[in-house]
């Protein structure tokens, strides 16, 4: 069964003359238990797709099915939806409430998901993400970037979801901490049979984490390929090849990508 199906998805911001089509006709199918990657430059619409999936962007059209449930544009998602689908955001410095301790963050989330035994569940969540019980009553400013991202992952796991949407979960972190978080995500997926839809601009990270990936550019999907194809440099589209040449961990001469004019004067809503 497919965990996520997107057909002919258009997402736009604004209306009238200032309307911007951020995503044009996206088609993505993610099987249950699969890990799927979206890569592209900033402004390519990859994060926008995740935000539309969680209901943070109501202005979309097309077909969207998550876990067998058909989504309706601009309709508020109910609680059972957020129990099954959760998102981990890019910047753990911005996604945690600065005046709430780890305990408050997790117990409130558990309470809202209607969980029982909140006390033991908080401890379980913390140990699942590799944080000891001593972190329970700390505030975000007392945690390092990697520890904060672990708390954000624990919060996403609180409702025991099937689908995790990961929006550049390691781009704000150091390489050494990135390795720890990526390993944690790999283990969690193996233990819980989670489905991942992961966004990143780092091809090496996506190839490490995902089975298949879609390359996006200016709102359009230019190519869908498997991680093996990417490793073996079997990319057909010149844009994917240019991205590969530009990314670290591969050898090749850097090539200039598209002109910068499409990136200038972007409306604020688009530059997520």
């Amino acid at each position: 069964m497919d965990a996520i199906t997107i057909k002919d998805l258009d997402i736009w911001f604004g209306a009238g003359p200032t309307r911007v089509l951020a995503v044009k006709g996206a088609d993505i199918t993610v099987a249950a238990g699969e890990s799927y990657g979206l890569v592209g430059e900033s402004g390519s619409g990859k994060s926008t797709i995740l935000r539309a999936l969680t209901g943070l962007v109501p202005t979309w059209s097309g077909e969207m099915t998550l876990g067998g449930q058909q989504m309706v544009p601009a309709k508020r998602r109910d609680r059972s939806f957020y129990k099954r689908v959760q998102m981990v955001f890019q910047d753990p410095y911005a996604s945690l409430h600065p005046r709430q301790s780890v305990d408050q963050v997790l117990s409130e989330t558990l309470y809202l998901h209607g969980m029982d035994n909140i006390n033991t569940r908080v401890e379980k969540l913390l140990s699942d993400v590799g944080l000891g019980p001593k972190f329970r009553f700390r505030y975000p400013h007392q945690l390092s970037g990697g520890q904060r991202q672990r708390v954000a992952i624990a919060r996403a796991l609180a409702g025991e979801p099937d689908i995790l949407l990961l929006d550049e979960p390691t781009s704000a972190l150091d390489v050494s901490v990135q390795a720890e978080i990526l390993n944690l995500l790999t283990d969690l997926r193996a233990e819980r049979g989670l489905t991942y839809l992961m966004v990143s601009h780092d091809l090496a990270v996506i190839a490490h984490m995902c089975d298949r990936l879609a390359v996006m550019r200016a709102g359009e999907t230019v190519e869908v390929l498997s991680a093996e194809d990417l490793r073996a440099s079997r990319a057909n589209h010149p844009y994917t090849q240019a991205l590969m040449a530009n990314s670290a961990g591969t050898t090749g001469t850097p090539q200039p990508l598209e002109s910068e004019t499409s990136q200038t004067l972007m409306p604020a809503a688009n530059s997520v």
Partner: protein, 279 residues
């Protein structure tokens, strides 16, 4: 020829648990070359860059045997002399253009101001110079960009504008503190090659601070690897992959690689001895 010579630099902060030493005895010499400083966050690499420009405020304390720039010890300069040196002799490009450009001034005004601060020039001359600089950092339609505000340009353009502003007064040393980590891979290369070109043309010295090992090994001539406020290893940039120190090797191995799939990435195990050992 040595442009900058730093000897036994120390930066410490008072905390409730006593003094915390962020930089503990860093020494290096820099000629007209590209020097990379790499390390994790908290390793003291940014503090080293800021200490050279004397940008660290009280209650932090900066000490060194000397920080000689062009035969002058920067530690002995008055605040007034430092203001003349900053920008015109030594410039610094910060990490995120979103936070380092003035949001209520147009891009053009900011570059013009920076130029006129260090050179006696009419508004017209300064404007021409600013346009020339924007051209040099490969910005198309510089006339239009001059009149935009920072929020109207993309991250990559913002960073190039920062570089233009820092280089307009023609400094002799550029300190770049993670100039590309807020940018996409594709834009990263572009910004780097522009910086590289300008550094080569003008014969400037460059200190490039970054946590991206691949980038540094490709872009710099020499690399200092910092851990817990100390330099643990110095090597030629193209030899970085043969680095001997376990910390450097650990950093290199923790990167996911396209050509070597692994189920688990190696996690850096830190040895307490690294922080204490003397080179």
């Amino acid at each position: 020829m040595t442009l900058l010579s730093v000897k036994d630099l120390r930066v410490s902060f008072p905390t409730r648990q006593g003094r915390f030493e962020a930089v503990r005895g860093v020494s290096f010499d820099l000629g007209r070359e590209r020097l990379g400083i790499v390390g994790e966050s908290g390793s003291g690499k940014s503090m080293t860059g800021r200490a050279i420009l004397r940008l660290i405020r009280k209650p932090a304390e900066v000490t060194a045997s000397h920080i000689n720039f062009d035969g002058r010890n920067l530690l002995d300069c008055s605040e007034r002399e430092m203001r003349r040196i900053r920008g015109s002799q030594i410039s610094m490009v910060m990490q995120d253009p979103k936070f380092s450009l003035n949001p209520v001034m147009t891009v053009g005004q900011q570059i013009v101001e920076s130029y006129r601060m260090h050179n006696r020039a009419s508004l017209k001359e300064a404007r021409a110079k600013a346009l020339e600089m924007l051209n040099a950092v490969s910005i198309r339609e510089p006339e239009r960009v001059m009149d935009t505000y920072p929020h109207e340009v993309s991250g990559g353009m913002g960073q190039r504008i920062m570089i233009a502003m820092m280089l307009v007064a023609n400094p002799r040393l550029l300190i770049a503190d993670e100039p590309t980590s807020a940018l996409d891979v594709s834009v990263q290369r572009q910004v780097l090659s522009i910086m590289d070109g300008l550094v080569q043309q003008r014969g400037m010295g460059l200190i490039f601070i970054s946590h991206d090992l691949n980038l540094v090994s490709e872009f710099c001539d020499r690399v200092l690897i910092m851990y817990a406020g100390r330099v643990v290893e110095t090597c030629a940039a193209d030899q970085l992959h043969n680095a001997r120190h376990p910390y450097t090797q650990g950093l290199l191995n923790s990167l996911p690689r396209l050509d070597q799939p692994r189920r688990h990435l190696d996690v850096l195990t830190r040895d307490v001895a690294w922080a204490e050992e003397v080179l």
